[in-house]
Amino acid sequence: MSFQLNCPNCGKRAVSEFTFKSELKIRPAADADFSEWTDYVYFRENNMGRQVEWWYHRSGCQSWFLAERDTLNNTDHRSFWYEDLEQNSKDKNGGN
């Protein structure tokens, strides 16, 4: 038991109910340079501060969602559905 993450469906739950995937990243185009792919697969911003991340409510509704969280103190995070991600970030996220 630690901090509580807000599932957009179920509400606040202990973070142990969730699975963290990774920070939100832009999937390169299939024909992108290999260096773009290694960047996508291996490299991370790893922000000390706010970042948007993928989480999965494993022990609850089993939904994927995004949370903008401060990695320094876990407080005041904002969680939302992927469909509510601003369209420009989604385009950058690519792959659609």
């Binding site: 038991m1 630690s2 202990a14 973070v15 142990s16 699975t19 963290f20 990774s22 920070e23 290999f34 260096s35 290694t38 960047d39 697969v41 291996y42 490299f43 991370r44 911003e45 790893n46 922000n47 000390m48 991340e53 990695t71 320094l72 103190n73 876990n74």
Partner: protein, 394 residues
Amino acid sequence: MWNNHELKKNYDVVIIGGGAHGLATAYYLAKLGITNVAVMEQKFIGYGGSGRNTAILRSNYRTEEGIKFYDQSLSLYEDLAGELDFNLMFSRQGHFTLGHSTAAVSGLVTRAENNKALGVDSYFLDPLEIKKMLPEIDISDHPRFPVHGALYHPPGGIIRHDAVVWAYARGAERKGAQIHQLTEVQDILVENGKVSSVVTNRGTVSCNTVISVVAGWSSEVCKKVNIKLPFVTHPLQALVTQSYKPWLNHVVVSGTLHIYLSQTDRGELVCGNGIDTYPHYGMRSTLGFLESYAAHVLELFPVLHNVAVQRQWAGLCDMTPDYSPIISPIDEINGFYVNGGWGTYGFKASPASGYNTAQMVANGKAPKMIEPFRYNRFVENRLVGEKAAASVGS
């Protein structure tokens, strides 16, 4: 011991991070005659991982790269107390890595055999042999995950981690390096593709070389020069119990249960487990850690049920995709080096890390020992094979 200095206008080398790695680097640089060196520490020396780990030393890694590197580190540790004239309380207790499944046993056997082939003392023990050395361990089939065997590594042990930090600091200082505590590096300036100076809360100093040796905080430091790293910073938690008469005279690690424990000369059991599952920089400890550690340690040693936890804390681990560090020049910026990605295995590497980093900086090129740990391996997709053997911190 060491003194507080004014910042000089210029240093040949600025080491960012006053942990064991940074201080060891300063010490070995000084031994190579490079003494116009400043170690910049934002807090106090040993504030980060160096003071928050569980002080376990071992060299029983899986890959040739890992085994050779950590074996060098262990050899350096052996003579360090004498060399630095500081008792580091290296307690060579022998190190158990327990396996709780056939797959885990297979991995342990691989490590044992690879170790033997490279001259590192490691061998496999069956549960009865384990029981002889650890009489209170439960090797019955009663636990949820029964003990199937162990990799035993006689040269492994524990050391007084803070002492390593202080001894290197004193050694470096005595040879001419300067240690600046409460000195925060706010920016790193690059001119014409070359490191030119470092901006701190106490002023700007010029320098030719900057080494980032800040482990969990590496991504933030490297952002100052627009270098992206393959690191994710996770917390790793640990605890000590109250003091009891020495009962455990070996280091015990269980990969499946994600726990490790040893007992210090003060009588406290020092305990840790795997990294927290999500990135976090806050170093705030959790109740969940206490609960899961307790549940797991009692699987192994039920007699510890009334042993009380005295203190818990968290440190930061800069995890890499292949569970191996980066010790490397950065091609894009002349004079900028990264030493990081130490994950849960950094403390035991301190001497070899410092030694090889110093060689790398002095010669402008990485020694063979640390070539596998170059930055570009992630760009080239040539990873080191330690992930396959990754057990918990230990």
